[in-house]
Subunit: 489 residues, 2 copies
């Protein structure tokens, strides 16, 4: 607890001027060093969160910050994992985002129902929150967490004060009153929350907010210290070596070689099954919508493995209002300025909807790893980050399915050649495809490792034998039907 | 009315196969030629819009289309001009967007209330819709509008059919029933709508949908014809010459020279007014929120005119939850793939909120014009497009204010020099600033023309004498207070 004795008006003014100009300079440094910063403002009702935030913003350049509050809960957020709202609002590098009431309060009694948290979301709440913060800090985001503390008596006094005046009355709602009445329960909740989410790189700073002036000075001092430390850290940071390293082979990761790519299906059987399965998928699509279940399907596979045609057969009979196909290409500049998972969080389906990713976040541990687009440390921790994201989705009730479309080198060569001869398909084949092909062995190693490390019960990989496009389509349809039926039971 | 006599099942199947493969090929061409396409599906309830859309999608590659329906009205859309929802969903170049129930029905009795249309939005409805379509087609978007027509009897029959089965029952809502009961009234509305929005480059195609098979064939035929025409047009299009042309001077456009940039204010008066005005702005901010009025403020002006510091003074005392400052830099690749107004529509404030643009859409008629980033035809029509967007905002109830911060060349030079000497401000000054400075005379001409052509009662320009930063800040605050008070009365 940060206790500061009350100070005079003059001392306060002077201190604030010094702190304010320091903060202004730090904001510019943060901008220039491209450090993403998240300031989290938590605390008891009427502890002065809003006022504090205004004061912090005062010396800042408004072009380089964003402020978000958790006040209103809208449908978009309720129909997705509760962290979605925060993932999609994480700051771009160089920007400061201030969160007025944060993800930490999603588990307050009133929010559990307002946000319609699922059983598993409650069960794994603290783990999820901690992993969320860890992923951001690992990626270089500075998270500064402030908790404003006031006593029950002080809170009561302030609420009464607010209610007296017509211009401030609207700021007091029934939950604020309830919180004061049940102060002890809330105190206990906050204690637990602080204890369980006091992370090494994102610890809580508890501020005694009984005296507003000292509280403000404390908050400024903390923010300045944290930013200075972060800046020193960024400036001292050695340039990470992004050299490409040949991946090493571990026998335990070998999944692909066991796959008989040549499995095939007869034309007649294909036609019959395709019709029947597509009809069934379409029915299941409606059921998903009615039961408000969402689905995420990931397509990965070798170049020319037939992802496009496979996706087409999967979606052909689906109600177009219920699904979206997201083709994943090289990230845009805006996407590069965020955590690599940010662009995928942005596309996650609402309850009742399906999103199909044609390539995905797994690029991190395949092409980005092999081409040296990220450091070893980065792709190494990506397995856990990816598992965690899929776990979040699953806990929210999303069905997560992942397909690796597997062909062999001969089949790929044949397809490349036939594409080059077909004027309508020439666009599909580029120099990069040929370059990737040369790295087949390296890819095989990293794909094996990826599947081994991210094949989880809540988000299983299905390896699809795909030398026969038809066989592969039927097999994907079968898996999708099977998993949807299981989950809709 | 497109009347086709009923055809046999075999003939239908054969026709659809031919039409389907044609459409698939056209989609790829559209993709390669980077043509944005919008297919609008309108018509009576139960006329088969949803089924038709599914059929159109069938041969298409799902990675390159999006489908949007107007079914649900959410808060985000209601609290902005009704066209916002469509502007933000216009297709990127090379993509096909299909709209199931379009902006045309915003004026249906049930939608007027659901969307909470404002008086002026109703009054100017057809004009706005036509200008919206014109802006898109002028920019190269292909708009294909289909209207599915069925008779009252047929509609009644189909609704009854749908209601009979448990799996289709949910598709019939009270408005569908009402529409059948009041068929005559809706027929009249649709007739008027079709007549008034049958635009040269986006005409209506009315399809007799009594027979589903013929209707589908008609729709495919129309879409194919339109796409083929568009492709021919794109392929034949001469490369527009983007050469930079020295702007010509017209005396009537001279606004800037009348401005006495040297107006100043004493320190004491500045301090007093700043305090008083900021306090007032903060009160007005709350009033805006309570009365659900939104505000758009545009800052334009010479490099180093003091926009940043001016914005800072304007927002300093505002509740951070109520406003956002949007710094406008060069467009990203995603933004370039859309109409140039798209990225600004994306940032428009919800009711009760304020968005401040640090530079804006006016870049189109200044830097883009002078640097040859757009053709003469494009910047020339931009005045009207911009006026139209601001008119839309104003009709929705948004307060639109525009400031030109005006300094003279000597003052700019002094500021450039002082920035270069200050290590904290060096980042603010780039080689581009010096290059722009050399084009001062050209800029003066285009700025004069811009202000002359876009200074409208619903979105007035205020020229701010800004050699004294303090004077400029006070003047902006004064204008903002004056306009907000006027609008909140």
């Amino acid at each position: 607890m940060n206790n500061t004795t009350s100070i005079s008006k003059e001392e306060y003014k002077e201190a604030m001027e010094t702190l304010g100009s320091k903060l202004a300079v730090l904001q510019l440094k943060v901008r220039d060093l491209k450090i993403p910063v998240m300031i989290v403002c938590e605390g008891f009702s009427a502890a002065g969160k809003g006022t504090l935030i205004s004061k912090v913003l005062y010396p800042l350049d408004p072009r380089y910050f964003n402020v978000y509050t958790m006040n209103k809960v809208n449908e978009d957020a309720v129909m997705r994992p509760y962290l979605w709202k925060y993932w999609t609002r994480t700051p771009a590098r160089g920007r400061i985002t201030i969160i007025d009431k944060s993800w930490h309060r999603s588990i307050l009694p009133e929010n559990i129902s307002a946000l319609q948290l699922k059983e598993n979301e409650i069960k794994y709440f603290y783990e999820d929150v901690n992993l969320f913060e860890k992923q951001l800090t690992d990626d270089g985001t500075v998270i500064i967490k402030l908790f404003l503390h006031i006593t029950k008596e002080e809170q009561k006094k302030r609420l009464k004060e607010l209610e007296k005046t017509s211009t401030t009355k609207w700021r007091v709602n029934k939950y604020d009153i309830k919180q004061n009445e049940q102060y002890g329960i809330y105190q206990k909740y906050y204690d637990e929350m602080i204890e369980k989410t006091d992370n090494e790189n994102a610890e809580w700073n508890i501020i005694n907010a009984e005296d507003k002036k000292s509280a403000t000075i404390s908050a400024f001092t903390i923010i300045i210290e944290k930013l200075e430390a972060a800046i020193a850290h960024y400036e001292a940071k050695e340039k990470v070596d992004m050299v490409k390293v040949k991946p090493e082979y571990y026998a335990k990761y070998d999944v692909l070689s066991k796959c008989d790519v040549n499995k095939d299906i007869e034309q007649k059987e294909y036609k019959n099954k395709l019709n029947a399965y597509q009809k069934r998928i379409s029915e299941l699509g409606y059921e998903l919508y009615l039961k408000r279940k969402s689905v995420v399907i990931v397509y990965e596979g070798w170049d020319a493995a037939g992802k496009g045609g496979n996706i087409k057969r999967l979606t052909e009979e689906l109600d177009p209002r219920g699904y979206e196909v997201v083709p994943v290409a090289a990230p845009t500049s805006e996407e590069l300025a965020h955590h690599y998972l940010w662009r995928f969080w942005n596309k996650m389906p609402k309850d009742g909807h399906m999103t199909i990713f044609d390539r995905s976040w797994y690029g991190r541990v395949m092409v980005e790893r092999l081409e040296g687009f990220c450091s070893k440390e980065e792709w190494n921790r990506a397995y856990k980050e990816i598992n965690n994201m899929e776990f979040n989705l699953a806990n929210h009730g999303t069905i997560v399915l992942k397909f690796w479309l597997h062909i062999d080198q001969d089949e790929q060569l044949a397809r490349f050649k036939s594409r080059q001869e077909d004027p309508l398909k020439q666009y599909k084949i580029t120099a990069e495809d040929w370059r990737n092909r040369e790295k087949w062995d390296d890819y095989e190693i990293v794909v094996n490792e990826m599947i081994y490390k991210t094949n989880k019960p809540y988000a299983p990989w299905h390896i699809i034998e795909a030398n026969s496009k038809k066989y592969a389509r039927i097999k994907v349809l079968e898996y999708v039907i099977q998993e949807l039926e299981k989950n809709l039971r």
